[in-house]
Structure formats: structure tokens, C-alpha cells
């Protein structure tokens, strides 16, 4: 990041807190969007303790810690979306502690059924864009936004191509590998990342691995705070093929391309309102997501669901109960694992998953 800043002294870098932020707007303003995914296991919480309580998720605490230690000084701004009360209030703590930084809280519409949701979202995106224009010192023309949407469309298309390939032939690419490729995009220009993803897909196709006797599963719950990489590996090594997951969901939020036509801002807002994926942080527009899950398992041929939820993540923990109820009615097995950024008990999780795999295989 620092190297990028040195190479591009006139450009700004603006952070995006998960889950979903329209990073197209940041790119259109000429800044580099950076997805923040917390401190992983590498940061010791000390400064953040005096400003945020211990009963909140790791990602909020470690992100604040990184900020207070000066590790995020490279950012000129930070956008928090309306995903939960903790992230929302963290935006306020951030604004006070980093007064020189451009800090914005984006209230995304929760009532996506209302015809007024689109005009509201457009107004909210305009507000964010106006702030970004001030930060970057230049007005954003429609062609800037169209170019950013185009770059994001290509990036999401490449991400989905990789994920779709894994779903069809999960033995060819491990989930932890695709995760690492997607995660790299957090700090790269869209175009650079897109080319990396395309190379990864081409390489996976040439690998020639053979299928193993593993249990195909859907992995759900880690859409915001990210589990340690070892944990994803442990799920696979314990005998699962992860056909689908919601890791890094926001960076590939849309499944189809956003039209980059005459009114790109409207297209971006309409896409959020009409085409957001099922998520714990966005109220459903049609069928509740717990009702869709058993159907999705059948469609994919998944034998079970692995819930990976971050400790203290309220949106995931509430949905979990509803998901479980529907899975039980549909007689689909599941296992629930709670994680933190800093966790050492990966072996315990491995055993838990192995037990789950055995129970599925011998059923």
C-alpha cells in the first residue's frame, strides 16, 4: 500500500469496511478502494480497549487497533456501510479519533421493496460521491463512473468464473486458494486483480487433479469478519469440498453485470435494490434466505452446511437459528463453528468437522 502511494503521490486511498460498499464510486473519483478485513491474528489489542468494549467482534476491535497504532495512516478516507450497530458506531468512534480522515457512514436501504428505495439510494450515493469529489479534488464525470463500473463488472465476472469453476470441480481448486486470490483484490487496482484472477482460473484448469471422496458443503456466516486461513484449510482437510461460501461477499456482491449506460449512478443504485444477494446484513426483498437454503443445497448437490460465524457477530448469530430450523426440517446436516481472528484451537475445529463428515458419510 505504501509503495502504491509512493508511486501515485497524487492519488488517494479510501478504505471500505465490509460487507458491501459501492467501491465503483471510490474508483470513479480517482482513488484506490481498499477493503479492510481487520487485523487477522497479527495485532495485539491494547489501544482499542479504552475506546471499544470487549463484547464486540474481532474485526471492529482490530481495525480500530490498526488505526490507533498508525498502520492505516496510508488511508485518506474510510467508508462504513450500514451492516450492524457495531460497525455503525465504529464509524463515529473513527470520525472522532481520526479527524483528518474523510469518514463516511453509508446508510444502505433496508426496505428494498419500496419504490422509493431507488431514489433514496441514488441520493445517498450522490452524497458519498460529493464527499469523494472534495477529497480527491476533482468532479466525477459520468464516463469516470462508467469506466469504474466496467472495471468492477470485469472483476466480479472473473471472481465468479473462479468460484463457479470450483463449484463444478471442487477437486481442481481448494477453497482456501480461491479465497487467497480473491482476498488479494482488497489492496489491488481492479484491473490488476482481474488479470490475476484470470491467470488463477487458467492455472486451475491445467492442474488435472482427481476427485476425492469428500463431503460437498456450503459454507456460510463469515461474510464480514474473515476466519483465519488455517480454519478454511482445516474444513477442507477434514474432508469437505466447499462448493459455495459467503467469504468476502461484498467484493463480489453482484452476480450479473451492472449496465454502464446513460445513467450509471442509477444503475448502481438499482442493482443494489434489485440484485443484492441473500445476506444477513440486508433485509430480504423476496423469499427469506433461510427458506432458500435447503433449495440451494439441493441445487448444488451439497450434503450439508458448515456455519462459520464470527464470535459476537449478531447478524450471523440471529440468522443461524432460522437457518438451522429450516435445515432440520429438510433433514440436511449442519455444523456450527464460532471463530475469532486470533484463534489457536484449529485442531479442535478439525476434529469437529471430521465428526461431522463421518456422520454425513455413514448416514
Amino acid at each position: 500500500m505504501r509503495a502504491w502511494k509512493e508511486e501515485h503521490p497524487s492519488r488517494r486511498a479510501v478504505g471500505a469496511f465490509p460487507v458491501y460498499v459501492p467501491t465503483e464510486l471510490i474508483q470513479a473519483a480517482g482513488a484506490l478502494p481498499i477493503w479492510l478485513y481487520g487485523g487477522g491474528g497479527s495485532v495485539e489489542i491494547s489501544h482499542a480497549d479504552s475506546r471499544i468494549q470487549s463484547f464486540v467482534c474481532s474485526i471492529s476491535r482490530s481495525t480500530l487497533e490498526l488505526g490507533l497504532r498508525g498502520h492505516l495512516d496510508v488511508l485518506d478516507g474510510l467508508v462504513f456501510p450500514s451492516i450492524c450497530d457495531v460497525a455503525r458506531n465504529l464509524s463515529g468512534v473513527w470520525a472522532r479519533n481520526f479527524p483528518r480522515m474523510f469518514v463516511e457512514f453509508l446508510h444502505l436501504p433496508q426496505n428494498r421493496r419500496s419504490p422509493s428505495a431507488v431514489p433514496y439510494t441514488i441520493a445517498e450515493y450522490r452524497r458519498l460521491l460529493a464527499g469523494l469529489e472534495r477529497l480527491c479534488g476533482k468532479p466525477v464525470a459520468p464516463e469516470d463512473l462508467r469506466a469504474a463500473i466496467h472495471a468492477h463488472n470485469e472483476n466480479r465476472e472473473a471472481a465468479w468464473a473462479l468460484l463457479d469453476a470450483r463449484r463444478r470441480t471442487p477437486w481442481a481448486t481448494d477453497a482456501w486458494e480461491t479465497y487467497a486470490f480473491l482476498r488479494a483484490g482488497a489492496v489491488l487496482e481492479r484491473e490488476t486483480h482481474t488479470s490475476l484472477l484470470r491467470q488463477a482460473l487458467a492455472a486451475a484448469r491445467e492442474r488435472g487433479r482427481r476427485p476425492k471422496d469428500k463431503v460437498p458443503v456450503i459454507l456460510l456466516g463469515a461474510f464480514c469478519e474473515q476466519p483465519p486461513l488455517d480454519l478454511i484449510r482445516a474444513v477442507e482437510e477434514a474432508g469437505c469440498y466447499i462448493l459455495e461460501d459467503d467469504l468476502l461477499l461484498g467484493s463480489r456482491w453482484f452476480r450479473t453485470s451492472i449496465p454502464d449506460g446513460a445513467d450509471p449512478l442509477r444503475a448502481l443504485a438499482e442493482a443494489y435494490v434489485a440484485s443484492s444477494p441473500p445476506s444477513s446484513v440486508s433485509h430480504y426483498r423476496g423469499t427469506p434466505k433461510q427458506d432458500l437454503l435447503p433449495q440451494r443445497c439441493r441445487q448444488l448437490g451439497a450434503s450439508g452446511v458448515v456455519f462459520l460465524t464470527a464470535k459476537f457477530c449478531e447478524p450471523a448469530l440471529y440468522d443461524q437459528v432460522l437457518y438451522k430450523e429450516r435445515l432440520e426440517s429438510a433433514q440436511i446436516p449442519y455444523v456450527h463453528i464460532e471463530f475469532e481472528e486470533k484463534m489457536s484451537a484449529v485442531d479442535t475445529v478439525r476434529t469437529q468437522i471430521e465428526t461431522f463428515v463421518e456422520s454425513v458419510l455413514f448416514e
Binding site: R51, I52, P119
Partner: protein, 412 residues
């Protein structure tokens, strides 16, 4: 009957009638809407003769009546985590117990109005109720106050949704929407709200005639449950009379008012009395609190307006305390400390409600370290009795007031 008794008696009668109507809902055929306290749109629901039910108030009542612990465990037994909101679990526990509340049976919802103001958990809560009850859910999205006031786009968005909600209510209840009636209801709300502000301002006097935290939470019940009715206005008229007479006699909630404090955060309902006692013994009187503003920041000039009812409902809904950004909340604390001439700030941080809690440590940091306001921050919970540690709280509170008393003695 003294003024004091008259106010209390009226509150008891009105709330008794309300709970009776909840018990009778099955027989009366009246349609039932569940909704939340912050930013609630009860004025609109009254126009359709819908019976409002407030799960948060049911949860706090269960807390006071010592039922919350068991109900929370029932919810945890079906998979709710120990780390999620105790109010939600209390409500799920009630549902699993055939909705037998301390005040009698509660009706099932016909409509869930998720007036989502200042709390994302509200959405998850009513998604769960919609799942379990199969009732229709309307998510009324109230944008967070990210700047100093609502923007035109925010107001238009909320008003448009209110119009859509009115259609849903008309369909559910079979009662057509009468806009004249909405004007009458909002004018009753306005009358009660003005009186309530006078009540709050009475705490400016020395001694304060009432405790603006421990007593205000009961005084605000009619405003949250019965707003938009004549009984509600009458209650606040009687309450104000009572406080004025207490003021004249120099009577307050503690025999001698030694410390005036501002309180931030909800109370620990399952241990309400004992928590209050920890302060009373030091002659502490709360002169302002933020919890009494979760149902509306009327003292900041936000009122229902019969001249523009829908727009005023939208403005009201965006201006509940926890829907304000942290900068505004911090300014409000400063205002209260100044306006009510308080000696200290008490922060009661609750695990259940991150909407309230996250940011409080930062408030403490600014006010105590940078602005020299004596600040005490203690932790427990609003609903879950397991998080209340009396001995630990007592130690902290005693040490804090001992040091304040000492400081006063040496003229610091």
C-alpha cells in the same frame, strides 16, 4: 386524593386497560401490530384501530418481574447465542411460553412493523418473529442520522414508506385511511410531548423534584405506550402538577441531594431497585438521562405536528437517541451536563445493546480525559440477570462517589 396519587392512579388505570385490551384482542377481533419504541409510528396505527404491542416493553417488564432469566434460557435452548441481545431472547422465550407475560396473555401479531430506528437488531428480531409467526413484516427503514439533521431525501424516503405502510394497515385492518383522524391523533401526541418536556425541565431546579433516570423510565411509559390518546395528555398534566408541588416544597427523590448526575445507557431491569439503591445511598439524583430519550428527543424540539403529520412522524422517527450519530450524542451529553448543572456522568454500558454501548468508552475518553468531567463507566446488562455483579458495581460506585466527595471537601 393528592396530586401524586392522582397521577399514579391514572397511569395504573390506563396501563391496566391497555394490557386488558391485549388480553382481549383474540375475542375483540382487533388487529394487532407489533412495533418498536424508538421512532415508533403509533399515530398511524391508531388511525386503523390497530392495537400496538411493544416487545421491548414486554421484555423490560419481564426483567423487572424477574422472569427474564428463564425466558432467555428458553431462547438459548433453541439455538440463540449467549452473545446476542437479551431483549430478543426474552421475546422469543415469551413466544415459546405461549406469550404469558407478567401482565397476562399477549396476542399474536397480525402485522410486524419494524420501525428500524437506531438499532439493526430490530430487523433481525422481526425477521425472526415473521419466521416463527408467519405474520406480514413491513420494514420501515429509518436512515441513521449521519449528519446534523435529516436530508430532504431522507424525509422523502421515510414519508413514501409511511404512505405504503398506511396501505398495508388499511388492508390488514379493513379500516380506510382517514387523514383528518391522523391530524387529531398527532395533535394529542404533541400536547403530551410538550408536557413531557416541561416534566424533564423540572429537573433543572435544586433539588430536582424527581430522578430523571430511575423515575423517568416509569414516567415515560405512557408516552411510549399511549401516545396519541387523551388519557396520555391527562397523565402528563397531572404528573407536571405533582412535580411543581414537589418543587415548591423542595422535595426530591433522595432526602438530601448531594450529587447531580447525567446517566447514559439503559438500566439493568432485572436488578433495577438494587442498582438504584447503590446511588441513592450517596444522595445521588439523576437530573438528565439519555435512556429517557429513546422514545424521542422531544426536549431537542422534535415534536409531532398536526399541520404536517406524515413529515413530522418521519422527523420524529429519525430523531430517537440511538439513531443519532456519536458526535451528536456526545454533544447532547455535554448539553445535559451544562444545562442541568450536573457533577458527573454515569455510563451504564450493557452488553445486549451494542447500539447504545459501542462508542460509550470513547465518550468517557473525551469527557473524562480531555474535558475533566468526572465519569464512571460500569457494565452489566439490560435484560440478562447473569451479567449483573452487585459487589463489583458497589465497589466501583462507592469508590467513585467517595472520590467525588473528597474532591469537594478539599475544594478540587
Amino acid at each position: 386524593m393528592s396530586d401524586e396519587d392522582a397521577g399514579k392512579a391514572l397511569q395504573k388505570r390506563l396501563l391496566g386497560e391497555y394490557y386488558q385490551s391485549l388480553g382481549d384482542a383474540g375475542r375483540s377481533g382487533q388487529k394487532v401490530a407489533y412495533l418498536f419504541v424508538p421512532g415508533n409510528v403509533v399515530e398511524l396505527l391508531r388511525c386503523f384501530d390497530m392495537l400496538p404491542v411493544y416487545p421491548e416493553i414486554n421484555a423490560l417488564q419481564c426483567g423487572i418481574k424477574k422472569m427474564a432469566g428463564d425466558l432467555i434460557l428458553r431462547a438459548e435452548n433453541i439455538g440463540y447465542s449467549s452473545d446476542v441481545c437479551g431483549y430478543v431472547k426474552n421475546d422469543i422465550g415469551l413466544m415459546l411460553s405461549d406469550r404469558q407475560s407478567p401482565f397476562g396473555p399477549l396476542p399474536k401479531p397480525d402485522l410486524l412493523v419494524c420501525n428500524y430506528s437506531g438499532c439493526n437488531t430490530f430487523v433481525k428480531w422481526f425477521e425472526a418473529l415473521a419466521h416463527f409467526y408467519g405474520a406480514e413484516l413491513f420494514v420501515l427503514d429509518i436512515p441513521y442520522l449521519r449528519e446534523r439533521g435529516p436530508s430532504t431525501a431522507d424525509i422523502e424516503y421515510v414519508v413514501a414508506q409511511l404512505e405504503e405502510l398506511a396501505d398495508v394497515c388499511a388492508r390488514t385492518s379493513g379500516v380506510p385511511f382517514d387523514r383528518e383522524r391522523l391530524k387529531r391523533v398527532t395533535s394529542l401526541s404533541y400536547a403530551a410531548e410538550k408536557l413531557w418536556v416541561d416534566v424533564l425541565h423540572a429537573a433543572r431546579s435544586r433539588p430536582s423534584p424527581f430522578d430523571a433516570y430511575f423515575e423517568a423510565v416509569f414516567y415515560m411509559a405512557p408516552l411510549n405506550i399511549l401516545r396519541g390518546t387523551e388519557g396520555c395528555v391527562e397523565y402528563y398534566r397531572l404528573l407536571l402538577e405533582e412535580l411543581v408541588s414537589r418543587q415548591k416544597e423542595g422535595r426530591g427523590p433522595v432526602p438530601e441531594e448531594k450529587f447531580r448526575v447525567v446517566v447514559e445507557g439503559p438500566p439493568p431491569w432485572p436488578h433495577f431497585r438494587s442498582f438504584w439503591e447503590l446511588f441513592k445511598r450517596w444522595g445521588v439524583c439523576a437530573v438528565a438521562s439519555t435512556y429517557s430519550k429513546v422514545g424521542g428527543l422531544f426536549d431537542q424540539g422534535v415534536f409531532h405536528d398536526p399541520a404536517q403529520p406524515m413529515e413530522s412522524i418521519a422527523r420524529y422517527a429519525m430523531n430517537s437517541y440511538t439513531n443519532w450519530n456519536l458526535g451528536l450524542r456526545l454533544d447532547l451529553l455535554r448539553q445535559y451536563l451544562r444545562e442541568y448543572e450536573a457533577d458527573a456522568l454515569i455510563i451504564h454500558s450493557v452488553k445486549s445493546c451494542r447500539s447504545f454501548s459501542v462508542g460509550q468508552a470513547d465518550f468517557r475518553d473525551v469527557l473524562a480525559k480531555e474535558e475533566g468531567v468526572p465519569t464512571l463507566m460500569v457494565e452489566s446488562d439490560l435484560a440478562d440477570p447473569r451479567y449483573y455483579s452487585e459487589a463489583q458495581l458497589k465497589n466501583r460506585i462507592d469508590a467513585f462517589f467517595e472520590s467525588l466527595a473528597h474532591r469537594r471537601l478539599v475544594g478540587g
